[in-house]
């Protein structure tokens, strides 16, 4: 499969702190790639670099071979990269309908319209409904996001990224903070993603990783440590050593 997302020697320093150290990733189209590592290893930094929230201190990021290293975040979304945040980043005062409608409109190029009334395009409304049903948000669609229960917010967080119809989806700990009994819903949506969407998943939950990923990269202290198919990584003694104290039952 062709490589769709690639980093070459990606570096990020904050003063004396090295958050990313010569990270070179190569992700194929349709891959289910997991990025794991101990807390503070720099996983979210990588996502922030990939999406343009942070500018790298060195190195390159390529999407379909095109250099996107210095593109603004919204420009990258236009090219097909979307992400979810580890801590929900939603619009507290907007309803799920409006939230999803916003992303869909932007994607369809209708977001800049200043004379048309919101809700007047059937194409947008259709897609909103489709997403609401897929993520089981229908019963709360008219509520302010700020008052929704955490599980529903998390589903909206993912739905919002999907609304951008990305070619590459970066999921930053999608199950974080979600109670045990609601995790399966999150898992189901992640599993149901279309096969041609490339997914980079950051997770701590090993069950999710092993049921989902076809390739795992291990990040330690900002540098890539080990990379390979799940069973290989699971057996690697160095990985177990790095995760001392963390549950790593393969």
């Amino acid at each position: 499969m062709p490589v769709v997302l690639e980093t070459r020697g990606l570096d990020k320093h904050f003063g004396g702190i090295i958050a990313a150290n010569q990270v070179s990733l190569s992700i194929e189209k349709g891959a289910r790639h997991a990025l794991i590592g101990p807390n503070g290893a720099g996983k979210t930094t990588i996502v922030n670099l990939l999406t343009g929230v942070l500018k790298p201190s060195g190195g390159q990021i390529l999407l379909d071979g095109k250099d996107i290293t210095y593109l603004e975040p919204h420009e990258r979304v236009r090219l097909g990269i979307a992400r979810t945040f580890q801590i929900n980043q939603l619009f507290a005062d907007l309803t799920p309908i409006e939230t999803l409608g916003l992303a869909i409109s932007e994607r369809l190029g209708l977001g800049k319209d200043w004379w048309r009334i919101v809700g007047s395009k059937a194409a947008v409304t259709e897609e909103i409904i489709e997403l609401l049903e897929r993520f089981r948000l229908g019963d709360v669609m008219r509520e302010r996001t700020g008052i929704l229960p955490y599980g529903k917010q998390r589903l909206l967080e993912i739905a919002l990224a999907i609304a951008c119809k990305p070619r590459v989806l970066l999921l930053d700990e999608p199950a974080a903070g979600v109670p045990e009994d609601e995790r399966h819903e999150i898992l189901a949506t992640v599993e149901a993603l279309p096969k041609d969407v490339t997914v980079l998943l950051i997770e701590h939950d090993m069950d999710i990783i092993f049921s989902f990923a076809d390739r795992i990269s291990v990040l330690v202290n900002g540098a890539l440590f080990v990379e390979g198919p799940p069973d290989e990584v699971a057996r690697d003694p160095r990985v177990k050593a790095v995760y001392l104290g963390e549950a790593f039952d393969a």
Partner: protein, 347 residues
């Protein structure tokens, strides 16, 4: 999982939900009908009502950036003064004798400067924005002061003559033409603003205000949207200032002052940000208060403004908003009766 209630299919349900706020509620229609009727109901109060209209326009322009985009400006009077002096100078030197045209030109001048300075408010924290907007207003005021041979300096712009509206309606001493003029401009500005904030663009502004990070993560070019609304708001403030200059045939340096910037902020806060009517309601309340309290201590009116600001903040602006919820609920219930659908009270 179908979530439709009543007999409407889901698509129509969602579409209805999104478009309902764009519909003019009966309360709104009543408000504007009353405003129109006020021309004949209060014939002796036209001068005061014109003043209220101008404050309302100014506060409306501030609402666009503060209530909808979350930009705190301490210098919005920069554009107000700019519009006023533009219209005043156009009138004085007879560049454009017809006032409506002069009004549009003044608004454009203000929006051009707004566009130029908008890039300054994109960077930095709230404090930086505060300072930059404050600084720009100070600068424009200084310019007006220094070029006193053109602007009249501290004495204000004298000798302004405004032609008749559409070549027919002279501005009279009792302010009748002035009021109809101001009210019409206000209404037009309001209708356009209302359309804009109910548009996808308007929704994206609310998103930016709520979470700029997430907004850019769904593909919104945050900075350009902010530049756009800031430019529009500057133009609107310029229109308000121009109407003042035209109805009073005068312009003065205090139109750039921090007192004016603070007053409009107060007016908008009293009425409430983010629902467009806040500026209008606030202007009514402000003028009413000014009349009442000036009776008490004419010169020290500023003290009461300060006290009201302090009181509002200490009480909590959202608490005051909650007191007004019954009125919002009433509007909603009336709408419910009209269409036979359940509504959700929103503020």
């Amino acid at each position: 999982m179908a979530i439709a209630s009543d007999s409407r299919p889901l698509a129509a349900e969602v579409a209805y939900f999104l478009t309902r706020r764009a519909r003019w509620s009966p309360l709104e229609i009543a408000f504007w009908l009353l405003a129109l009727a006020s021309i004949w109901l209060f014939p002796t109060k036209h001068l005061i009502l014109t003043e209220i209209c101008i404050w309302a326009m100014f506060a409306l322009s501030l609402d666009l950036i503060l209530g909808y985009a979350g930009i705190i400006s301490l210098g919005h009077a920069a554009f107000f003064g700019l519009g006023a002096y533009s219209a005043g100078l156009i009138g004085k030197y007879g560049f454009i004798p017809e006032p409506v045209l002069a009004l549009v030109v003044s608004g454009l001048i203000a929006s051009v400067v707004g566009f130029a300075t908008s890039f300054l408010v994109l960077r930095g924290s709230d404090l930086t924005r505060l300072m930059v907007t404050f600084g720009v207003a100070l600068m424009l005021g200084e310019i007006a002061n220094k070029f006193s041979n053109i602007t009249g300096g501290a004495d204000g712009l004298q000798g302004v003559e405004i032609g008749p509206v559409f070549g027919t309606f002279r501005f009279d001493l009792y302010g009748h033409t002035g009021y109809v003029y101001a009210l019409s401009v206000l209404f037009l500005m309001f209708v356009i603003a209302r359309r804009i904030v109910r548009s996808p663009f308007g929704l994206s502004l609310q998103a930016i205000k709520g979470n700029a990070l997430r907004s850019s993560a769904v593909g919104i070019a945050v900075n350009w949207r902010l530049v756009a609304i800031y430019t529009l708001a500057a133009g609107y403030a310029g229109l308000a200032g121009a109407v003042l200059a035209q109805t009073q045939a005068f312009a003065s340096l205090e139109m750039f002052s921090i007192e004016r910037s603070a007053d409009v902020l107060l007016i908008l806060i009293i009425g409430g940000t983010g629902w467009l009517y806040g500026g209008l309601i606030g202007a009514l309340i402000y003028r009413f208060l000014q009349d009442e309290l000036s009776g008490l201590t004419a010169r020290y009116w500023q003290f009461w403004i300060g006290l009201i600001l302090v009181a509002i903040v200490l009480t909590g602006r959202d608490r005051i908003g909650r007191w007004l919820t019954p009125a919002a609920k009433l509007a909603d219930d009336v709408a419910k009766l009209r269409s036979g659908r359940p509504q959700r009270a929103r503020r």
